[in-house]
């Protein structure tokens, strides 16, 4: 039951993009077309789930037993960077179809703050291993959801008459604001989380 609550809380109530402001750069950059938004979303979900598992193991099996908590940030970011590289190599060898579909989005993920943010939030909340794994997966799905909705709206926006100074980033941010307002309807569904 509590795992189900973690999923709902991270996907809808505390959506990573719309209420924690994590992963805004790809959210603004890659949300132009629905197809690329889905590709980016899946790549992020994939890396997030693995990151959640490995950072948990590093924190509780290496950093804490050896009294090295100050190395948390450095080791987390190195894990993410090498994990992205590893996932890229693995997919290239064994699932070439998926590799081609994700293509250029994979290397971009290293500097996506949603991944490091997820690792740090999970570490702050002292989840156990399974909870952390579910948290990482839910965060990725929430990111994908926000990205795909935004891409859908922006595809329609091409036919709208937007005031000149607001074209591009301006209107995208305002749209994100309205979307965040809509997602606030989910707050109160689950307390905490």
């Amino acid at each position: 039951m509590s795992l189900f609550i973690i999923i709902i809380a991270t996907v809808l109530v505390n959506n990573f993009v719309l209420s924690y402001f994590l992963g805004i750069c790809p959210f603004l950059g890659v949300s132009g077309k629905a197809s690329s938004a889905i590709g980016m979303g899946f790549a992020v979900t994939f890396v997030m789930t693995f990151t959640a598992a490995i950072t948990w193991l590093i924190k509780y099996k290496i950093l804490i037993p050896f009294h090295l908590p100050f190395l948390e940030y450095v080791s987390f970011i190195l894990i993410i960077a090498s994990l992205v590289q590893f996932v890229e190599m693995f997919l290239k060898k064994s699932v070439p179809g998926l590799y081609r579909a994700l293509g250029i989005y994979l290397p971009l993920i290293t500097t996506n703050c949603a991944i490091l943010g997820m690792a740090l939030l999970g570490s702050l909340r002292n989840y156990n291993f399974i909870e952390n794994l579910v948290f990482g997966f839910g965060a990725g799905i929430g990111f994908t959801l926000a990205l795909v909705i935004m891409a859908g709206i922006r595809e329609e926006l091409e036919f709208a008459d937007v005031p000149k100074p607001l074209q591009g980033a301006g209107i995208t941010l305002i749209l994100a604001g309205l979307l965040a307002l809509a997602f606030m309807g989910f707050s109160g569904m689950i307390s905490g989380g």
Binding site: I24, C25, F70, Y73, L78, L116
Partner: protein, 199 residues
């Protein structure tokens, strides 16, 4: 002012190539911690420190870093300074550290810092990189401060915690919630474009 001179490299970050309003870098902390003026300034100062120190180190060792592993090397240098900043805030300003939460460690992946290392510090002398880092850091800080001011005044009716609007004012709670952040920044980007076109 011509490109390459120290004064040009300093001023460009403040307006013409402002990291937030023009290049749209570092959006996550900009949106997340700008719910009050003091948080905006604290975040801005933390970023200035990390940016200046990393630019100094990286421009000094730029000839020693092989280009294949430059990004991981930049990130390790940045992460070291971010850890220092985080420990400093935790020790001296625990309240601010709590308010900023995971956004202090997230300075590591703040695109502004990595972008300046990649685009400037790894190609220019120590002096110029220092000036560039300070300019970019100040450009980031003033936008954060302005955003924090607008959101705090409209959302709480206070500025730096002091009430500035009279009792008639009903705080617009939405301004301190996520939608207010997105909309205020969107309007600011629009205003910046409008001013740029007229001048």
């Amino acid at each position: 002012m011509k490109k390459g001179s120290a004064s040009y490299e300093f001023v460009k970050g403040l307006w013409k190539e402002n990291p937030v309003l023009v290049m749209l870098l570092g959006m996550c902390p900009t949106l997340a911690v700008s719910n009050s003026a003091i948080n905006g300034i604290a975040m801005g100062l933390a970023v200035i420190f990390v940016l200046v120190m990393s630019s100094l180190i990286i421009s000094a060792i730029r000839k020693l870093i092989p280009s294949e592993v430059r990004i991981p090397s930049f990130i390790v240098v940045i992460a070291t300074f971010v850890t220092m900043t985080d420990l400093f805030f935790k020790a001296r300003y625990p309240d601010i550290s709590k308010a900023l939460g995971p956004f202090i460690p997230l300075i590591i992946v703040n695109c502004i810092i990595l972008a300046r290392q990649e685009a400037f510090a790894s190609k220019n002398s120590v002096g110029l990189s220092l000036v560039d880092a300070i300019g970019m850091g100040l450009g980031f800080t003033w936008v954060l401060f302005l955003l924090g001011t607008i959101r705090e005044i409209l959302g709480f009716g206070t500025w730096f915690g002091h009430p500035v609007l009279g009792g008639w004012f009903h705080p617009l709670i939405v301004m301190i919630l996520p939608p207010g952040a997105f909309i205020t920044l969107g309007v600011l980007v629009g205003l910046k474009n409008m001013i740029k076109k007229e001048s």
